[in-house]
Symmetry: C2
Subunit: 223 residues, 2 copies
Amino acid sequence: MKKYAIIVAAGSGKRMGKLVPKQFLLLKQKPVLLHTLDVFLKAFDDMQIILVVASEYVNDAKTISRSSVSPKKITITVGGETRFHSVKNGLAHVPEDAVVFVHDGVRCLLSEKLIMRCYYAALEKGNAIPSVRPVDSLRVETHNGNVVIDRDKVHIIQTPQTFDSKILKAAFMQGYQESFTDEATVVEEMGERINLVEGEENNIKITRPIDLVIAESILSERL
Amino acid sequence: MKKYAIIVAAGSGKRMGKLVPKQFLLLKQKPVLLHTLDVFLKAFDDMQIILVVASEYVNDAKTISRSSVSPKKITITVGGETRFHSVKNGLAHVPEDAVVFVHDGVRCLLSEKLIMRCYYAALEKGNAIPSVRPVDSLRVETHNGNVVIDRDKVHIIQTPQTFDSKILKAAFMQGYQESFTDEATVVEEMGERINLVEGEENNIKITRPIDLVIAESILSERL
């Protein structure tokens, strides 16, 4: 089956306290986003990438793409108002007979193995959503306080959220709703059951300055 | 008010794939546990520490305590079968008119400020449980699949879980239940309301080998 990865990197990076969005910051002398692109390109020889960025960063995205292991396999498109709209823009470049990965550009530490695991699980079940278990206790707010949630039943959701593209494209024909916080929620709204697969502890999102330092440590340990 | 910190370091460290429990591993040439002890000892001049370790590590705990900033303020005691029993053993050394912090020995990156925040909140409300917000989506298993939890209502629980010692000692007179996954759940069983306070992103538990590397990065950034 054809393989398409929509890499969402349309964020403005305000939380990092820098002018440069986090996906363009350097990690081991290489932009975060370039790490992400290269993992996907290496996972499958026939991977095609749709890279979604804010309009003001199209040129930066082009420069980064040219440094990747397969620049010709990368198509750059512009993001929308929300993540939903950005993914929808990306999906316009994806055919119906494919497996499509939707991935956060700032999750640059995933392994090729995780991409493969998501691919085969999505082929079989229609979707594959990587998740890990919480290591800490969790509480949830109630109308008059808060209560413990049974941690053994909770999953922390990651990306790449992976789908049969026919299902994902149909789901994205729905009108936008605020409850669409990720692609799984969009597909679920159509009545699909969400299929969780094993994610990776190190598949973190680079959102705070310290995350770059942590990511650097993790990469160094791998060598 | 008197201040007692029960530092729970009775784990056997099996998850690290090493013979030495994680609280005794070195972080910047200093055992993880020693980092933890020193933060508590520095936070308040009148802090007393009850250090709970497995019986086979009492000598190691003594050695570490002697290297701390105030060895005389540390009492070593032996852990029990579960965390509940370990904390109960520690509580036997705590008077009724105190604020008591119960803290994971392997959370060595907390700040003195967090300890102070918990102290004052516990003085006012009877308990103070530090927590942070999840950065990822969460799902919870149901009888026939899984559903999204509203992330804005979820809190990730940390330590030091901090209490009026009279309340905590009374709570620990209850018989052990499997639902007692932390001290907050024990106190809650008596009908107390749990008071969440702001925790710290960096207040991580050292449980996996990579956590030591991450902790080292975080410490280096502080200097």
